[in-house]
């Protein structure tokens, strides 16, 4: 531990990936805010573990950081851009997201390779094909996540753990500056959890990127994380810097 316990929201670092200032978010039709008065600054070149009990507001926090949910009070900046700004869509092209509810049913027949390649689509114009270097990147991330033998298999026929690894591969193929992973270990076995965590750490260090990992099970992520954000009942209870 380098920093020990600090006041909620204060993290060292000049260049931040995500900055929330007195943020309140609620869902349509619900009077109760899902996150309340959250102030948090997370730097680049950092893995942030977000933890807390069910209903703490972890997924809301991730979706708010990405601008998928807009605060009704306060301000959120992602890579220096206000998430209410029109240019947030361009900033999102520099981000990746692995959702909590990722599982696809058997009738979804896109191949694993197609799914990983979908990560490149947002940067593509119509008719623009995948380049050779992108093909190589797809093969590289597939190997990193141990799905290289599944590339031609339909995604819907894979197990939950395999699908989850494909989603992480899709997130990495984009070479993102910021990664948001919501419970990325929920379906994978113990060995794969540690492997994915290592891959994430290596990527963040190599690319100078930021990763926010929401996880119930803190064991695989804690060793690789720089910051641990504890949420409870929509409030940041503590931010520990390691």
């Amino acid at each position: 531990m380098r920093g020990g316990n600090r006041a909620p929201g204060t993290i060292r670092g000049n260049s931040y990936a995500v900055k929330l200032t007195k943020v309140w978010v609620r869902y349509s039709g619900s009077g109760k805010p899902a996150i309340k008065d959250v102030t948090l600054t997370l730097p680049k070149r950092c893995v942030a573990l977000v933890t807390g009990p069910n209903g703490a507001g972890k997924t809301t926090l991730v979706e708010t950081c990405l601008g998928l949910l807009k605060p009704y009070r306060g301000m959120v900046e992602l890579l220096g851009v206000n998430t209410r700004s029109k240019s947030i869509a361009s900033v999102r092209k520099l981000c990746s997201y692995v959702p909590q509810d990722f599982m696809k049913p058997p009738h979804v027949t896109y191949s694993v390779k197609q799914v990983i390649a979908m990560g490149l689509t947002s940067a593509k114009a119509v008719f623009e094909p995948i380049t050779e270097s992108e093909e190589a990147r797809i093969a590289e991330v597939a190997e990193l996540l141990g799905v290289e033998d599944l590339l031609d298999k339909p995604i819907g026929k894979l197990s939950g753990g395999q699908q989850q690894r494909v989603f992480v591969a899709r997130a990495l193929v984009r070479n993102p500056q910021a990664l948001f992973l919501d419970e990325p270990f929920s379906s994978v076995d113990a060995d794969s959890r540690y492997r994915i965590a290592e891959v994430l750490r290596e990527y963040v260090d190599k690319a100078g990127a930021f990763a926010m990992v929401v996880s119930h099970d803190t064991r695989p992520v804690e060793p690789i994380s720089d910051v641990i954000v504890e949420l409870d009942n929509g409030v940041v209870k503590g931010v520990r810097e390691k």
Binding site: L68, V108, M118, T121, R174
Partner: protein
Amino acid sequence: MIFEAVVSSVVGACLCGLLGFYVSRLGLSTLAFTVAHAALAGAAVALMLGLDMTYSAMIFSIITAVTLGLLYDRLPHAMDSVCMVLFSFFNAVALLAIYYSNAVVLATASVSAVLWGSVLAVTKEKLIMLAGIAAVFTLYLIACRKHVDTILFDKRVAEAEGMNVALHITALLVLASLSLSMMLRIVGGFLVFTLLYVPTALASSLQLSMKGQYVTIPAFATLSTLAGLGASFTLDLPVGVSIALTTVVTAAAVKAVAAVIERSRMLKEG
């Protein structure tokens, strides 16, 4: 006349069915339902004012599709409420416009096209327009295949990756509004949604692969539409009602047969 009616019905049913596949997979059924009722209101207003019903339906439904597409980006969690309010509004406008039309008109072919459809409404010009919409839809799918697939696979992730999901949703809703406006003349304003929803609901309930659904939907739409037209000519029924009934009954029959086959297969497997 019969040739135009048959070709228009089949092309329109296939087009609506395939658009329904995307609408349903993207969770836009409520939005498309609202667009269909905007088309109905547009046609009814044209009836009252003595204008061309198809063009009026197109104007109403395209404005609604674009508005919903813009709102989707701003109020994603409130779309159901917005759609229900608009749906009530368009129904009220449609009924008010029919009420203020000449009472005699209720027995004419014009109003039958609004309410339950008429093959008399089909012209060569409208058939060419329908073919044009089908061509635009095909070109859109070819040009934006990767983008559409990415959104179809996971809309939320696509949005998080910076895809302009609202733009593609608007494009699909506009295409749906054009197709529904054209088919409204044949099937009628209250039943036109059948073509959008029932074929894809059947294909989805059969748990077919996406490719399987893509083949099944137009095949089923063609079959049920031809059966509906046949029933209309043979039994002297309103064409829209016949097509809607044959579509629903055929879908139920196919689903029942598939369920029996699946059950016997499971029994054999123990």
